[in-house]
Symmetry: C2
Subunit: 201 residues, 2 copies
DNA sequence: CTACAAAGTAGGCACTGACAACTATGTTGT
DNA sequence: ACAACATAGTTGTCAGTGCCTACTTTGTAG
């Protein structure tokens, strides 16, 4: 006998996605600490044990958020690059702006993304992080090919650039420096990078 | 009637300090998430409600850890600078090394230090963070006075330098890049900074 | 249509942070 | 010396959480 009000079918259909969506909202609004599996289940309208079918434990949910965070970051950087001009400085500027934009608009998520530690199961996160790192790597190689950058291990240079962005975002997100300084800091960082890594002579 | 075994006097004497010490060990060994007030109380040998006399809630304990973290970081940077030579590049190198050393040896603590958000009560943390920032600021001014750095807002330059260090540490701690790259990254960052921020001509 | 896998439910357990009420100890004024 | 008070502990309780086990409902394949 089918229920008269089929609003909540026994099988939700895509609980996993619903959980991730709700979790991301909760993460943004109340932080990772306040994120409760039971809360999410209530909000979605399933029983408290339902999430377990899709995420073996709380950490798995957080890890999944981190992975999707890196994917979204990568996508953001790529579209920014696609829309940027051909000259190397413009491309660097576009990438850096896109990164810090993502990082400050998704502060809590960013923390999750870099809190992997060596915990078992974090390989997925490290894997997901590779995409944006490769992008940065390619950018550096391109700059070297255009003669805008000195020769040298492109990976190392790319990581330092990446780190600078990440550091600026962390300091802003941590409220250690005033948010309105963001643009100026990025500008300074870009200038110094372009000057510091250009070929001598 | 005094107890026959006065091993645990009613008043612990310095529970607050004992809690902070135990918390820092726990933080280092098992991470902030696993830190439990009741666990700490058990470990120290007081009742589960005793910590409440010294920290109104769990977050207050974590905040206190963050504050003392900044103090220790500041102290570390100052001793490193005191032992460094007079030339500006050597001083920069010493500072950067000291920072990343502290940051990688206190990974979980570092996360706490920068996770302040705008949560009420975080003012203490922001305040504590000012000391190392001022130190960085002074260093930059010194470099400008020695003619090793271009003119320009020393605060902004100092923050970018600080951010770079913080970013490198985060990426290493997050296991995104291999730890053995640390020294090389710092070296690259120092070189780029000195080249990127020196006066033109 | 029947067997089975997938997805959700119900209930329970140990643990946690926060709170209230009470008690032991240290300190201070008279 | 001692009463009054502040400080720093104690026990007990509560709601909430993550995780686990056992059970039920639904979808699907043989």
């Amino acid at each position: 006998m089918p229920e008269a009000t089929p609003e909540r079918p026994y099988h939700h259909g895509n609980l996993r996605t619903a959980l991730l969506d709700a979790a991301e909202r909760g993460l943004r609004e109340h932080g990772a600490d306040q994120l409760s599996l039971r809360d999410l289940a209530r909000e979605i309208g399933v029983s408290h044990a339902a999430p377990r079918r899709h995420f073996p434990d709380r950490q798995a949910l957080l890890d999944a958020l981190a992975v999707s965070g890196f994917a979204r970051l990568d996508a953001g950087l790529r579209t920014a690059l696609a829309e940027a001009a051909e000259e190397f400085p413009a491309r660097v500027r576009a990438t850096m702006t896109a990164y810090t934009r993502f990082a400050t608009e998704n502060a809590a998520l960013l923390e999750l993304m870099y809190s992997s530690k060596h915990r078992p199961g974090a390989e997925r996160i490290v894997e997901a992080a590779e995409a944006p790192f490769r992008l940065m790597d390619d950018l550096i190689r391109q700059g070297q090919a255009q003669g805008a950058l000195e020769a040298g291990d492109p990976e190392r240079i790319g990581i330092v650039l990446f780190a600078t962005l990440q550091g600026i975002a962390t300091i802003i997100n941590g409220n250690i420096v005033k948010p309105e300084l963001l643009d100026g800091l990025v500008e300074t960082a870009v200038d110094q990078f372009l000057r510091g890594a250009r070929p001598l002579g």
